[in-house]
Symmetry: D2
Subunit: 246 residues, 4 copies
């Protein structure tokens, strides 16, 4: 039995790649390609059962709400999901307990493992900082993946009873020490030539542990997107990240 | 109740650090410091219950045999433990089922996590290679940690049914592609200025995942050594690595 | 006045990119696209003044000889140029002093600067090693860029009167310490997900200096190729690398 | 003929190392070791000809002024020297044209080469960002070396007529994009386990060039300090960095 799939943001760089991947995947049927200006009703007219959203932070929540209201499952790759926004998604879902929404900051297997390892390592080190590096067309800083990683590290440190990280800085040029996300410092580098990269540095006396993911090609995200599309229908409620699917 | 500890290789750089750490640790009592030329019987005379061995690959197996024969538990940090050598230790232990031997290629928490993560990631990637980098006084290449990491990766790939890694090399200057350990390529860099470092690179289409550990100071190994000394007596038989103790 | 350009290896991955870049460049006219099976005489028939060769190490010297004999200037990007092969090119040119041949192991500006910096830094450090990392379809190891870098470092060390690098290795699994090129150790990593990367590590007591180049896209080589095509006619004899053109 | 040397900040970590290095160097005589609370007149009483200052940003300018007034040459390793502060030193020197002051953000040969290479590479790349990483006891962010590197890159870009770097960021958590120093983004990482490290990333379409320096030990700075002490007396006026001495 095939799954009928619609794509939101279908003309964007990621959206085009998703359309290609869905078309090529066994058991998935690409039934609607929607972008700015197209009516969302095209999704219901085409009978979409799962929608993939790679749009932008300004419209994604409205899209999710509309789909959930129609009983359509959603896979979201759009970035910008803070804890606050995830809470909004949970409340959208409260009245539709049978619908599944999967929000993933990153669909690359390497990125997913990076986040898992960061969460596992966090409690053993005094210090943890994140450096994410992307092409200069990116509009948000830090990236969604970096935000999620910081949240995971912060939660793991809190569980282990670790306090604040050591930092004697008192004379700082604004911004030098990065953004603070749940107490974790995040640095966003933007440079021509880059694609999507992230490094997490953990330190304790005498040693450091570094975990780094490099995406050189959007194609690296597609196995994860296809897996999410196949799974979201059988996971009612909110799922964050594709780790639970591995 | 304190544990009576002897150190073999006590005048070496690691041995001295171990003596210092054992002396400073609660519940451990440093009762014998042995080095080349000293009789092993000093260990039994001093009533050592656990011996820590940081000697060299030529003598370590004899040391372990002697200790096991006397019923003394052993923590081994000396490098060079291939699968073959580990099998020898297992057979030494066959007649003394109550004695514990713990052989660890690396006692730094970051290195232990690096190996754990490498084992976990291995099945998701087509390619995996190891680069280890050390100070130029090191006599063995690859390092014990790199050997162990390669074994773990190879075993994880085999379990997952992965075949050989892709490699079209046909025109090679001898040694360019590194040493082959259980089918995994390992590259050993030696440079002034370095201490002890290792990087594992995993690759699949469009992305790479890198895990790196940097030891800047021998002190980083001591928490792991002390933990091993405390635990080895209650773990009869052979234990490889300190992961099981975490 | 336009320059009439022929491309050898025109159907290969680099060759196709070169044809595209030459066609798009002001003042260059793509007059011949030759690959395996095509007669070289098509170059003279088309009146090519400069030929770009991205073929393979087995045929490149014959190609260069033929072009030089016809008085055609050549830009060579094919890898495998040892000192011995460069000497062969010089002797080919001896009888045709007006012809220019430019052999470059790498046309990316970042790679060219990397080699320049390596040459400049070499005399200040006790140790220097090269790690090059490429996609697994590459047939030669080490890469042409790594060979050239090793030669430059070795020459700079010799000029400064530096002796052998420190290295106490005595217990080595074959290949662990890499290939030796003019006394410089070179390590070749091959992994899916990679494109073309190189790192040079310099070390002296207490510090290391690392220079790294990452090529994510063949397009990065084209500005250098076009510059070489424009310049080679006014540089009789052999030129190695595009540094002299910057 | 020996040079009589005084050290300011003699009980600090760097100061102690400097005292040791000066005592051990041929032709240098350590005549005064001054720290907080000691009168500066001890320098003139001891006949110091050159003073080395590793104190802190709050007091260093007063120290330099006092020394210059007495006709004593000064080597300054204290950090925090913006263009504005360098201008203040120049004006202090205006009335004492025979006195030399050398201000260096970093005395390690690798760091000096890193800055030289950054300046040379800057004009060839669209993007350039600096990441500096230090132990968490450091009070200033960014480091003096990072500030100096940013100034050099900015000046080289301006000379080459390069405009602003590409950056589409519009949705930023405060500080994510780092500090802006003369238009160059600088990110300061602080972690236990680190010593002193800096990485400069240059990018242009399809490629990046990275230059990284790692200091593992304060000893790495001493050859540069000794060279500066020997040279400063014959370089009247302000010298910035030790590059001109190489």
């Amino acid at each position: 039995m095939t799954i009928r799939v619609g794509v939101l943001g279908a003309r964007g760089r990621m959206g085009q790649e998703v359309c290609r991947a869905v078309s090529a995947a066994d058991g998935l049927d690409l039934v609607a390609q929607i972008d700015q200006g197209d009516p969302l009703t095209a999704l219901t007219e085409a009978g979409a059962q799962v929608v993939v959203d790679f749009t932008n932070p300004d419209v994604v929540l409205d899209n999710v709400q509309w789909c959930v209201d129609q009983g359509i499952h959603v896979v979201v790759g759009t970035s910008g999901f803070t804890e606050e926004r995830l809470a909004q998604v949970r409340s959208l879902l409260a009245g539709k307990p049978e619908v599944g929404v999967l929000v993933a900051p990153n669909f690359a297997i390497g990125a997913v493992l990076m986040m898992e390892f960061a969460e596992r390592a966090a409690k053993y080190f005094d210090s943890a900082e994140i450096i994410e590096l992307h092409h200069p067309q990116k509009v948000d800083a830090p990236s969604g993946t970096a935000l999620r990683t910081a949240q995971l590290i912060a939660a793991a440190r809190a569980s282990a009873g670790l306090g604040e990280m050591p930092d004697a800085t008192k004379d700082e040029i604004d911004g030098a020490r990065g953004a603070t996300v749940d107490g974790v410092r995040v640095h966003s580098v933007r440079s021509r030539g880059l694609v999507a990269h992230q490094e997490i540095l953990f330190g304790t006396p005498g040693e450091t542990l570094t975990i780094r993911h490099d995406s050189f090609d959007r194609a690296s995200f597609m196995p994860g997107v296809v897996l999410a599309v196949r799974s979201v229908g059988s996971r009612p409620g909110l799922t964050v990240g594709i780790n639970p699917l591995l």
